[in-house]
Assembly symmetry: C2
Homo-oligomer: 147 residues x 2
């Protein structure tokens, strides 16, 4: 999938991403970057609403896993099981949500568990950047289930 | 503030709440209940998007704290510091986000810390209900700062 295809898929399947004005700027199997405008995600203090920060961080991880799971045969359902978010500093303008997956050993383990049990869990991290500052950190536990 | 006033405040100050179609059904100092339609919050599996579940749970807690902090003199800034969410079961229709604050001792402690240090932290929980099932749990650490 190209970046444009991921963008279209996102807007079609998760309408809140459109309401949030999320732009997919990088969509690769190693790295996903989303760019998020402040305006639709603003709060009463004119900074980014925590719920928007968390949702953007969730989507960055979800897209990366979705892209990788396209490589795997069969109908696989991907669900989030739990997550933690730390909000470190206020965001006062356009920000990004960045998910890297560098640990290929964790991915291989995930795939072998999925192959063996038709179910596997992986923990993925993402972070929120605003003007070069790491404004928030997200860690999510995602579960894949083969139909 | 009446329920309608809270609703209007929410839509005006946190526009994502309007995009999510959140309806404030109870807004009391002991309990806040929000009702959330599935459609604007749907995901690729036609269940509620985790980011929407988390944002709704955050708002239920935030509104309850906001209402209580209106009773406290001075300009107080309320920010979320961190949160955890557990997603227990898929949500396939309109759902609610419910925040209760029953621990009045914790609230009194929070107020005395705020009075003493102009800064205080409180942990608040909320949950997501769908057809009588507890579909998710949220726990957030909120910080109040007096200007």
């Amino acid at each position: 999938m190209t970046t444009d295809e991921v963008q279209a898929y996102l807007y079609e399947n998760i309408p809140l991403s459109r309401a949030m004005g999320i732009e997919v700027t990088t969509a690769k199997r190693q790295k996903v970057v989303l760019s998020i405008p402040l305006e639709p995600n603003i709060n009463h203090r004119e900074t980014a609403f925590g719920g928007s920060m968390s949702a953007a961080a969730t989507l960055a991880c979800w897209i990366l896993l979705h892209l990788r799971l396209l490589e795997v045969p069969g109908d696989i359902r991907l669900v989030i099981h739990k997550n933690k978010v730390v909000y470190r500093s206020p965001i006062k303008g356009r920000f990004t949500a960045v998910c890297h997956l560098r640990d290929e050993a964790a991915w291989s383990h995930f795939l072998s568990m999925l192959d063996r049990w038709d179910k596997a869990k992986i923990i993925l991290k993402s972070h929120l950047e605003y003007e070069g500052i790491q404004a928030g950190e997200f860690s999510g536990s995602f579960v894949a289930l083969r139909a």
